[in-house]
């Protein structure tokens, strides 16, 4: 064996990876060649130095930065959008949707009030508001509205110039008035039309005004995943793995407070991955026909091009 061969095999020799015969060849060469023996010693010293090299400690800010990144990961659903980094100014979903959601909420609030007022009267008979309830004046038909004189009417008459004939008065009954006090106070008398008497109007039960208009619009589709009791354990890992494999993320996990089992998981995906994700769910468990997401669920995701699935896990 010459010096070149011995040098070529030096690492394997020191790792103990040579056959016995080859190792003996190298050993005998190192005994005879001082230069190669010195090279072998220095190579071993370098490797020992590498093994004993103490790691430089991680800077203290690393943990804080990881925490921040994870927090952004959990809240930054907008990073699923077409390449939009979640750390761009205004790039977060909340900040980008704040103004449109508030505007939509305001419009829906006005509309709901309008519908509320326009609807049929409440079950109880209308009561005159305190502001317009005055003591009964002397009987004067042209200034009375079914026994009650409105402040507006008083002001109208009082503001007429002297000598002006008073306009022809009309007499209204309580039944002619609209149900809501606000409308009664602000509606011109000429526009109040005689209607059905209060007794004849059907009583209608109406729900409370929909306060959900004031909240951000929900989004996403529901998926029901049925699993066997044996397949229950680790199902969240498999759902999350399916989402991650398809480039999505897990937005939220809800667990049963009693047992700690996952009852639902919310995942975010890009739209092209939606079908593949549902196929994965069919492999993990069984998605019954009634558990498949409906086509009419809108919007599908927090931002265009994404879809959010709330996978509800049920043990069958």
């Amino acid at each position: 064996m010459d010096c070149r061969d011995a040098t070529e095999r030096m690492s394997e020799y020191q790792d103990g990876l040579l056959s016995a015969a080859a190792a003996e060849d190298v050993s005998s060469h190192l005994r005879e060649c001082g230069e190669c023996a010195a090279a072998a010693r220095s190579l071993e010293a370098v490797r020992e130095l590498l093994r004993s090299l103490p790691p430089p400690p991680a800077p203290p800010e690393l943990l804080a930065r990881v925490r921040e990144a994870v927090a952004r990961e959990e809240t930054g659903a907008a990073s699923l959008a077409a390449g939009l980094p979640s750390n761009l100014p205004g790039g977060s979903l909340r900040s980008r949707l704040r103004i449109p959601l508030e505007a939509a909420a305001a419009v829906l609030l006005v509309a709901s009030i309008y519908w509320y007022q326009k609807g049929s009267p409440p079950a109880s008979p209308p009561q005159a508001p305190p502001a317009v309830a005055t003591p009964a004046p002397p009987p004067k038909a042209d200034r009375q509205i079914a026994g009650t004189e409105t402040v507006a009417r008083k002001r109208e008459v009082a503001s007429l110039p002297a000598g002006t004939p008073e306009p022809k008065a009309r007499i209204y009954s309580q039944a002619d008035l609209p149900a809501a006090p606000a409308l009664r106070a602000s509606t011109d008398s000429e526009q109040i039309a005689s209607g059905v008497s209060a007794e004849a109007r059907p009583v209608e039960e109406r729900p409370e005004p929909p306060s959900r208009f004031l909240r951000p619009l929900p989004y996403g589709k529901e998926v029901l995943l049925e699993v066997t009791p044996e397949g229950r354990e680790g199902v969240e890992e498999r759902i999350a793995a399916a989402a991650w494999r398809l480039g999505g993320s897990v937005e939220r996990i809800e667990r049963d407070p009693a047992g700690g089992d996952v009852v639902s998981m919310r995942v975010l995906l890009k739209e092209p991955a939606a079908t593949a994700f549902l196929s994965e769910m069919d492999r993990i468990g069984k998605v019954p026909p009634q558990g498949k997401p409906a086509d009419v669920d809108l919007p599908a995701g927090p931002i265009p091009g994404t879809v959010a699935y709330t996978v509800r896990v049920r043990v069958r």
């Binding site: 590498l50 990881v66 991650w244």
Partner: protein
Amino acid sequence: MSEEGGKAVETPAERGRPVDLLVEAFRQGKPGAFDAIVRAHQDRVFAFCARMLSDREEALDMAQDVFLSAYRNLGSFRGEAALSTWLLRIAANRCLNRIRQRNSASRREAPWPDAAAEGNGPEFQPAAGEWHSPDRVAENREMGAILSEALGRLDPDSRWLVLLSDVEGFSYEELATMAGMPVGTVKSRLHRARMALRRMLTPVV
């Protein structure tokens, strides 16, 4: 055992492997579990990144990316290797990609020769001989600093192999799998890298 993607999936405990308690705690949603994982492995991951990238800030960014990637993918961590090995694999791949991107326009560092060219790759040439200068050696009194600088002078692929093999203890077979090359190629490249380091460090070892 359960079914996923048509393949049987086992937990580490079912295979008789030790269960990483921190990973299990993380999977169970225990508060602070991921913090504990970061604390347990941050020194090793950061050290690897720092030695690979030779830049503290870049290493900090990279270590953060590694842990964020781990956070996203811990659900699919099968426990076939230790968590530290898994994290270092992520770090190794990302560091190498980062260096290749960084040096894509640079011709200073030779590309990774293919397996067919084994044995004919460019021999490492220490830069300018300044390492042999007594003044230079005297300036770098701390062996760690000297070694880190020597590692930084290796081409990225050789540095990657030396760090994973001689510092982190990966086997030739593991490196071959990670690098996608034959074990023999890994052995020869590692040997050349070690010999290059030996030439650089001879004055101080």
